[in-house]
Symmetry: C2
Subunit: 312 residues, 2 copies
């Protein structure tokens, strides 16, 4: 039996993952990169990082899939993915911490009106604006998984008035949470800063659209750190034009890299980040993947198994 490392990786990325994995896996494990020669029948574990659609269905004896990313929406969207093979996603405390720092940075950037002040600087304008305290600022958190839950708690510890929403019921210590599509509007109505950390599923695709923007109070801001497909880009541009949405911070896009002609680049009220919210840390990812493989080999249940019906 062998492990196959397969994904949207360059040769040097394969080498770098292989080197790290070899240091963490027992010497008895055989590891192949997908551009090497291997026997399909031999592979019982796939370590994946955006594998080509159709590739995993070619492995007749596959028994476990470990993702090297937290998001598995692209993996699950492959209709040929074997339905009976368990999939684990990567939940790395370092990645969670990076996302928490990113969310708090962007929320404070908007809360402290930094975009306005930087705009004023460009015209040497000395003008002070009333500054509310965090406790006077309602932040709405969409998505209360590992990332959204931890980010909501960090914002709350800093003093923000945080309300969380998720499709299914979730409890997050110290945070007021609501769930279900019916109650989304009651979260949006008072939200000044909306953070999206939802998983991408058929239900959440395009959730950041005209109808949602119009329930937010006039002047609200949005921060999208999840997936480009959550956002209907044209609707955001319209809502920015009317001033209903005052600013958007976008880290993810439908097409990445964001094409050079895209209107977001030059929009004065859009801050563009090149998908840098929380990158996989190869060292800790390798260790976590190796631990999960060891659990699988020992007959234990791997951690962070994906629920295929939910999509995460």
């Amino acid at each position: 039996v062998s492990i196959l490392l397969i994904g949207d990786l360059t040769r040097s990325e394969y080498e770098s993952w292989r080197e790290r994995l070899s240091a963490c896996l027992p010497a008895s494990e055989k590891l192949f990169a997908s551009d090497e020669d291997y026997e399909r029948d031999d592979i019982d574990i796939a370590l994946v990082a955006n594998p080509p659609a159709g590739s995993l269905s070619q492995l007749p004896n596959l028994r476990f899939i470990q993702s090297l990313w937290a998001g598995v929406d692209r993996l699950l969207s492959d209709p040929t993915l074997p339905t009976d093979v368990p999939v684990s996603r990567l939940v790395d405390p370092n990645l969670t911490q990076a996302m928490v720092e990113c969310v708090v940075a962007h929320v404070l950037f908007l809360h402290r009106q930094i975009p306005q002040y930087l705009g004023q600087q460009s015209s040497a304008e000395w003008k002070q604006w009333t500054q509310p305290l965090a406790m006077q600022r309602r932040v709405g958190m969409l998505g209360l998984g590992q990332l959204g839950g931890a980010a909501a708690q960090a914002l709350s510890r800093l003093g923000f008035d945080v309300v969380g929403w998720s499709a299914a019921p979730r409890t997050v210590k110290g945070i007021r949470t609501l769930h279900s599509a019916e109650r989304l509007n009651s979260v949006l109505r008072d939200t000044e800063i909306l953070v999206n950390l939802l998983p991408l599923t058929p239900q959440t695709t395009g959730i950041l659209r005209k109808e949602l923007f119009h329930v937010l109070p006039r002047g609200a801001s949005i921060i999208n750190l999840a997936r480009g497909e959550h956002l209907v880009e044209e609707d955001l541009i319209d809502a920015l034009a009317t001033g209903h949405i005052s600013h958007a911070i976008l880290d993810v896009f439908r097409t990445e890299p964001l094409p050079p002609q895209h209107p977001f680049w030059s929009h004065p009220r859009v801050s563009v980040f090149p998908h840098v919210a929380a990158a996989t840390d190869p060292d800790s990812a390798t260790q976590l993947a190796a631990n999960n493989i060891a659990a699988f080999r020992a007959g234990r249940t791997p951690v962070f198994l994906v629920d295929r019906r939910k999509g995460y």
Copy 2:
């Protein structure tokens, strides 16, 4: 006996303070604004907000001075200020909270490399940079009073590696602190982001100068939220030109408003804020001042008395 409200205030600001103060002070208190008719001999308490130099020495029966600001450096720099009259400064938990939010916003702005990404956006450049975690980022906090101590703790709770420095010994729960001029360099040597919240005293005037910048590691950033006089502006411009200092966030300046021709306005690696870190909240300031006046009238010691020798 009467209270005099005196400062660098417009008529409408006087009226606004008077209205708030009247609601908080007992009906027996007589309150005058300095542009009204009053008997100098009657005044035993001065409520001050940058009073003109020499004005307080004209009040022969003055027994207590309550500042409406936290910083009393301008007040104490008046050589005619009566030496035997106690001075209290304003320590407002809301102002402390505002400063904490401001410090965390600016440190995260630098930590998350937001200036670089906004610069890349202006040329539609999609480029990712290695992002350390907060625990891998050393923040040096100069000044460990109410504001610096609280800000250091908030940064530490978010994960930053914080070291605090103050002229006199200070303990801040959970924070490693050093004191004395001799040990300043050992704080600076490993500091990537330096925050200044020192009081302005003869010893700290011009502390942010060439000699200090050169002890910081190459590429360090500075955040000045205290007083413009802490910074030697020409030295900062030189250190930015060589790249030794990579970015500066400045909220305070030697001349405010910052003159339109000042090179900071257009400097790509200086972020200019118009003295907005933490404004006095008139409602809570009024209540705190009224409480301190009540304490003084009842023969109790007012809180937050200034130590004239230390200067804060």
